[in-house]
């Protein structure tokens, strides 16, 4: 290939990958819309396209059907037209009864990727790994068929492949006879067949994590295995293994199409399913808007403490319960508290970004323990390393493993018995060692401190105590533990962010600088951090022993726990109550997480305080009169709303197709290299929500509704923001998120109809009002 052809092919692959959503590793599980690549299309069109590309169910009851009663000639013509549009030659093999080539390609490619992406878990690392994935594969795969009669020919064929992945993709497509005009769709379908691996590689490459692996390398290997699968089967039928020959063979006798493309997609049924979805969403919106109304307290009262909770829907029941306990106000703000940082625990080799996934934080915070604690920590780490080296080495060694099992087996058995009969402490409480903020420059502390206070609407009326409450879940033996942590912290617990924000806002020099910017925090006001454990329904205060407050928090937590326990299915053989579930190593559903989320209310708490929103709503504080130019609302709509929409759409699609857009049943999953799971022994990387996060058995617990954003702000202000933010135009105009504005003046609701048009929202409540 010459330079022009190479560059054109690179662009073709980049564009084909637009349909693939990025995938993050499990330890920083990040919610993302699985159809993110289709957000330039209206929702109904995007889901129709995705249904065909991913062979997936995309709506609660959609237009898929296994029945295809058309004439064989019509089917054949459809197949030919679909090459490079909806099908690969691998897809053809299944339809022609030539075996499941796609599964074979997935299995063989997945095996090499799992070896390459291993994060130090395997005893033997992949040889030649430093050369990059394609080069390492080429050096090793030549031995794949060594023990077969074709071993020598196979080795020669691999050796003949070009040295660079981009050239190999070109050579393989040439050999398969795929014409240039069909390559975009052809490669897109290839990536869709392994959307998990492709999404992971795409994100990691863009983030600069591994220059040795990109989508071209993935496609070079996949198209090679496709060549192998097609060659083996096509020649057996006397057909040359290339598109033109197979096409002509098929058209010569359309009856050769043995099986219809599955699932068979019907647009009319899809449209009908979409209409049903819209109807259900209208019902939900009516029921929510019926309970959202401003309620001012009858008499002003002295506020003892203000709590700032994450916008997470799980905060809402606790906020309501806490407000009922006494003179406490609550606010909603993204759970990273406006502190986009990386965090490095003491002596840890790497820092972790604890910020929304939309950001790439560069500032790092660490820990500053005293000398004695530091010595203690280093000794403990050394002991752990030594034990791991001895035990790990003994168990990994081919010979010593036998003795290792004898030596360590009894201890492991005792541990297993203890874990079985006595729930573990799910999450060891951190020691809250002093933080090291030196790498966060003073002007940035002031900037982020001011931004956080303004966006959460806390610029005056400060209580004596302000609690910044991060959150995280507690679970053991759970590959998806990060999925129940804070999404605004990139799938991490939010406590560190809360502590950073408290440290920043308590600093006298920062407060002095804030006075110059119009925010005066009274000297007696103190910020403290806290952590809301969403699995056990408990709140821990960091460095605060206010007994009245702790008692109120305990009572509020008890109330929420009792309410939530009723929604959790009983565990016949294990612990059922929420705290015990957190420590049960056999528990596949420690909590429901964000299941049933359906709306995002952006406005003063007065609008939602009186309503029981049943944990279904994200809540963000917003005071429209304090934001005349809309600058604050713009930040809320372009960051927290997007994160909430991704969470909502992740739950939506994982519910309607748990195997394609979720990671399927937890009981069948096998962790791979610490980055994801596969079903059984191999195949595609599956990184969406597991079935147990959205459903109970075959019955969905999550209700698949698109997010309803309710914004208490003037419509003109929202219009102006949407007009200058393409990302919002796509969300609202294309109906990925429904939008309702509540006029702060008269309290009337208006539904956004697209293109900056609004209609008064119907005021009547449906007779069969669904629970909010």
């Amino acid at each position: 290939m010459n330079r022009s052809e190479r560059t054109r092919l690179r662009a073709t692959v980049a564009l084909a990958a637009d349909a693939i959503a990025p995938v993050w590793p499990l330890d920083t599980f990040v919610a993302v819309n699985p159809l993110l690549g289709f957000d330039a299309l209206p929702f109904i069109e995007a889901t129709a396209r995705a249904a065909e590309l991913f062979r997936a169910q995309v709506l609660p009851a959609d237009g898929r059907s296994g029945d295809d009663a058309r004439d064989p000639a019509d089917r054949a013509r459809e197949f030919v037209a679909a090459i490079g549009v909806r099908d690969t030659l691998g897809d053809w093999c299944a339809a022609l009864g030539w075996g499941d080539a796609v599964a074979e390609i997935d299995e063989r490619t997945g095996r090499w990727l799992a070896a390459y992406l291993d994060r130090g878990e395997a005893a033997w690392t992949m040889p030649h790994r430093a050369r990059g994935f394609y080069a390492a594969w080429k050096r090793l795969a030549r031995h794949e068929c060594a023990a077969t009669p074709n071993g020598r020919a196979y080795r020669r064929a691999i050796d003949a492949l070009p040295d660079h992945a981009v050239d190999a993709v070109g050579a393989n497509l040439e050999a398969l006879g795929i014409p240039p005009e069909r390559r975009h769709g052809y490669l897109q379908r290839h990536l869709a067949q392994c959307a998990g691996w492709a999404g992971f590689i795409k994100r990691a490459h863009d983030a600069g994590e591994d220059p040795g692996l990109d989508l071209l390398a993935l496609l070079a290997v996949r198209t090679w295995y496709e060549r192998c699968a097609l060659t083996a089967t096509a020649r057996a039928h006397g057909v040359e293994p290339a598109f033109p020959a197979v096409r002509d063979w098929l058209l010569a006798d359309p009856a050769r199409v043995r099986r219809a493309r599955e699932p068979h997609f019907e647009r009319a049924a899809h449209d009908a399913a979409y209409a049903r979805l819209e109807q259900r969403e209208r019902e939900f919106a009516a029921s929510l808007l019926a309970v959202l109304e401003p309620r001012d307290d009858a008499a002003p009262r002295a506020v003892a403490a203000q709590f700032v909770f994450c916008i997470d829907a799980r905060s809402e029941p606790l906020r309501r319960a806490l407000e009922a306990e006494g003179p406490y106000e609550t606010l909603g703000f993204a759970g990273f508290f406006g502190m986009p940082v990386r965090y490095r625990p003491f002596d840890a080799p790497h820092a972790t970004a604890i910020a929304p996934v939309l950001l790439r934080p560069t500032r790092e915070v660490g820990e500053r323990p005293d000398a004695a604690t530091a010595r203690q920590l280093r000794r403990a780490a050394a002991r752990t390393r030594t034990f791991d080296a001895i035990a790990g080495g003994a168990l990994a060694h081919p010979v010593a493993a036998f003795a290792g099992v004898e030596a360590f087996g009894p201890f492991a058995a005792l541990r297993a018995a203890r874990q079985t009969f006595r729930a573990e402490r799910a999450h060891a409480m951190p020691d809250d060692r002093p933080l090291q903020l030196d790498a966060l420059p003073f002007d940035e502390r002031v900037f982020f401190g001011e931004a956080a206070l303004r966006i959460m609407g806390l610029t005056h009326g400060f209580a004596p105590l302000i609690v910044l409450c991060g959150h995280g879940g507690s679970t053991v033996n759970n590959a998806f533990s990060a999925a129940i942590d804070c999404g605004a912290c990139g799938g991490n617990r939010g406590t560190i962010n809360a502590r950073v924000a408290a440290d920043v806002l308590n600093a006298p020099d920062v407060r002095a600088a804030l006075v110059a910017r119009g925010i005066t925090i009274p000297p007696h006001t103190r910020f403290v951090a806290a952590e809301h454990d969403t699995t056990r329904d408990a709140v821990r205060l960091v460095d605060c022993d206010d007994r009245a407050l702790l008692a109120a928090l305990a009572r509020a937590s008890d109330a929420v726990r009792a309410q939530r326990a009723r929604a959790l299915p009983a565990a016949p053989l294990g612990a059922s109550d929420p705290p015990a579930r957190a420590g049960d190593w056999a528990q596949v559903r420690p909590e429901w997480g964000l299941a049933r989320n359906a709306a995002f209310v952006i406005g003063p708490r007065a609008f939602s305080r009186a309503a029981d929103l049943d944990g279904r709503c994200f809540l963000h504080s917003y005071d429209a009169p304090a934001d005349p130019d809309g600058a604050i609302l713009e930040q809320i709509l372009t960051a927290p709303l997007i994160v909430a929409a991704w969470i909502n759409l992740q739950y939506f699609f994982a519910t309607v197709d748990p195997d394609r857009f979720g990671s399927g049943d937890k009981l069948l999953q096998q962790p791979v290299g610490g980055i994801g799971v596969v079903a059984g022994n191999g195949g595609d990387l599956r990184n969406g929500l597991p079935l147990q996060s959205t459903s109970f058995g075959a019955t969905p617990y999550h209700e698949a509704l698109r997010l309803l954003a309710v914004v208490v702000a003037p419509r003109e202000r929202i219009d102006a923001i949407v007009a200058r933010q393409q990302v919002l135009q796509r969300l609202f105009d294309h109906r990925w998120v429904s939008l309702v504005a509540i006029d702060p003046g008269d309290g009337r609701a208006y539904r956004y109809a697209g293109d900056r048009a609004w209609h008064p929202h119907p005021t009547e409540t449906p007779e069969c009002s669904p629970t909010v």
Binding site: N2, R3, S4, E5, R6, T7, R8, R10, A11, T12, A14, L15, D18, H205, D206, D214, A334, G338, P340, P356, L358, L359, R360, A451, E634, Q635, T638, A639, P640, I642, A723, R724, Q725, Q726, V727
Partner: protein, 109 residues
């Protein structure tokens, strides 16, 4: 004349969404040794005004990449760059410039 010591090159200024910067960098890798990236950038295009000032969202902000290539590299580079810009939001300008120390702009082998 000192100007005789300059080498004619082609300058590219490319504005794309932050999420697509990586693809542009990958295309450029074969042709340039370096580039300048400016982000976020704001401005008005055929789709209206685009606000670049986003406090907590780097992915949706637009970025500008500025680089220079050898004149004979322009055509093959455009083979990949133009399809990207036709299918996605973004713009590019190409202009004639002259540079000193041309060896500094040669792509790495």
């Amino acid at each position: 004349m000192l100007a005789d010591r300059l080498t004619p090159m082609k300058k590219l200024e490319i504005v794309v969404s932050g999420e697509h910067v990586g693809d542009v960098r990958d295309l450029l890798a074969e042709y340039v040794s370096g580039y300048t990236q400016i982000a976020p950038v704001s401005g008005r295009g055929h789709a209206g005004y685009h606000e670049g000032r986003l406090l907590f969202n780097d992915a949706s902000a637009q970025a500008m990449i500025v680089t220079v290539v050898q004149p004979d590299a322009l055509e093959p580079l455009l083979e990949g760059l133009l399809p990207l810009l036709e299918r996605r939001s973004g713009v590019a300008w190409v202009s004639d410039v002259s540079v000193g120390r041309a060896a500094y702009f040669a792509p790495e082998q």
